[in-house]
Amino acid sequence: MTGVAVKDAGTQRSLLARVAATDRSTLALVGVLLALVVANGLIDRSFLSLSQLRNTLLVTAPLALLAGGQTLCMLTGGIDLSVAMTATAAAYVTGVQSADGPVTAIVAGLLVGVVVGLVNGLAIGVFRVNPLIMTLGMSGILTGLLTVGSQTFLGGATRMSEIVLELGGGTIVGPVPWNLVVWLLLGGALVVGLRRTGLGRMIYAVGDNRVACRLAGVRVWQVETAVYTLCALLAAVAGILIGGRSGSVDLQLAGSYLLPSVAAAVIGGTSILGGIGGYTGTILGALILAVLDTMLNLLTVDEALKQILYGCIILALAWVYARGTTTA
């Protein structure tokens, strides 16, 4: 009964009031993003040009997809440390298979993601292996398989086919790269899916209180299997896009994306303890990281200082967010 009453009160509030009340942290993130963009524009006028905008979007799309999968896992209270290796493996398989035509190649790459995700999800959901350990182990397993495979059963050239190259680095019109379209489609599905579908609500519920979910009749293992499979699938798409952008694939292709994928979700306000957050914040987090990266490049800060600043800013944003949630 009370649940119905609360729901009624919620729907009666005006849309504007709801946006202002629930999305204060989102507005703060938009503020940070705008400040960074303006700062970049002041440092270098050409940053605000269309070609620079295209470059920024090109870098953001794969990161945002990886961070999207990471967000799903974190919402259930888990984490996926195998996203980078999954992305690399998917890109590698796509590259090797591209001799058989682009469709086969892309499907093969996506299949890698599905298989990896299913194994992760079943181990975590059914056999209750700690997600950190499971995905860490999976990362090692994939590294080993790829290292051996590149000399034996996955041998041969890893030239991406034209379609993949176009998807990863090509432009549709003006500043809009193709990979943005892929990201918008999948990202839109994620935002709507998390808010409107049963699975989306179940993901939040499992992260909030796993035991209560089980007692309420939710098949927790199904939710977790779905989440880790989706995460690996998104990672595979991201990997193929990254591979398409760089043209050829090596074993370190996506390794540098692992920590930023977690960082983007955290900056976007998704709690690593589960149940709190969403993909909108993660998108902003990924954009902030990408713009920040460009800024440090524009300032020609050397790599050492860049890493220090990067770490401090992640820490500062997480700290601000933690304060915001405890006082509210």
Binding site: L132, M134, G144, E303
Partner: protein, 331 residues
């Protein structure tokens, strides 16, 4: 408390000891089996092989100990690898062209810095109330960056005397073993029995219960991370001695961190905190080192070592989890 425990029937006490150390014992047996297997593959297995084993795993063993202390205290430190790289670079830069005495002085300084870094991490985590994973993820970037500032490219050096003192040479396997035992006996053994050590276990096993029993969370967390930092410092120094230089690559840090987590899980430290010790993880590190060697002996591509490592870690956690669940149910 002690008189009460002594008054208990002997059988109960021994079963408790057996239960508490069952995991460590299992890891030791597993290691003994692997060692015997590896020895049977090598024609002249002896002191030289033992020295190689001890010297090449010393850094990772220290790192696993560091991770254990932090995880027992209810946290997790994803920056252990970055701290190792930082101390490695710092010491390699300062030790270049010095003699043994100066090298030891530098080593002492580096350890102080490492402990301070650990304490700072613990302080930030407790004060900011951000989850450990996030804070140490961010600080791993910071320490990696500082390491690059200290040493731009792989380089630096150390004195030959320092290398021989830490690792031994040729067939001398005991210096490395002594170095490994030193922090166990001098730092961990007294700490574990002290108030502070019990507080670390208490905080890891239940934060609220520990707080209500008068454990100061801030102080305990800072202490746990400081000891972790000190052990990371030792790992960095061992790396300097082993490679005779410093290398600021972030992949080294990443791999070392992941290996440390795998080792503690194999070594019987529960990720939830409050359970485990430092001896199990060290044996786990040795097991993880022997696996690729044995595969090489069997004629399998040692690159599959990573695959086997991953499968072993996952299976051990799976079986361990099932055993723990079964043990809990009847009670």
């Amino acid at each position: 408390m002690t008189s009460l425990a002594a008054a208990r029937p002997l059988g109960l006490a021994t079963s408790r000891i057996a239960r508490r150390h069952a995991w460590t014992a299992a890891v030791v047996v597993f290691f003994a089996l692997l060692l015997a297997w590896n020895a049977s593959q090598t024609k002249s297995f002896g002191a030289f092989e033992i020295q190689t084993l001890l010297a090449s795993t010393l850094a990772l063993a220290y790192l696993a100990m560091a991770q254990s202390v932090v995880v027992i205290g209810g946290g997790i430190d994803l920056s252990v690898g970055a701290q190792l790289v930082l101390v490695n670079c710092l010491s390699a830069r300062l030790m270049e062209g010095t003699d043994l005495g100066a090298s030891l002085l530098v080593a002492a300084g580096c350890l102080a810095v490492a402990a301070a870094i650990g304490a700072l991490t613990g302080l930030v985590i407790t004060v900011s109330k951000i989850p450990d994973i996030i804070v140490t993820l961010a600080t791993s970037f910071v320490w990696g960056g500082v390491a690059l500032l200290v040493l731009h490219t792989p380089g630096g050096g150390t004195s030959g005397g320092f290398q021989a003192l830490v690792l031994g040479s040729g067939n001398d396997w005991w210096p490395a073993l002594l170095c490994l035992l030193a922090p166990l006996l001098l730092v961990w053994a007294p700490l574990r029995r002290s108030r502070a050590g019990i507080a670390i276990y208490a905080l890891g096993s239940s934060k609220n219960a520990a707080y209500l029993s008068g454990v100061d969370p801030l102080r305990t967390r800072v202490e746990a991370y400081a000891v972790g930092g000190l052990l990371c410092g030792l790992a960095g120094l061992a790396t300097t001695a082993f490679t005779a230089g410093g290398s600021p690559q972030s992949t080294i840090a990443m791999n070392a961190t992941l290996n440390s987590v795998a080792a503690i899980v194999l070594g019987g430290v529960a990720l939830a905190g409050g359970v485990g010790g430092l001896v199990g993880p060290v044996f786990a590190v040795w097991c993880l080192y022997l696996l690729p060697n044995i595969m090489l002996g069997l004629g399998v591509d040692p690159s599959y070592g990573e695959v086997v490592k991953g499968v072993v870690v996952v299976l051990v956690v799976l079986v361990g989890g099932l055993l723990r669940a079964r043990r809990k149910r009847p009670e």
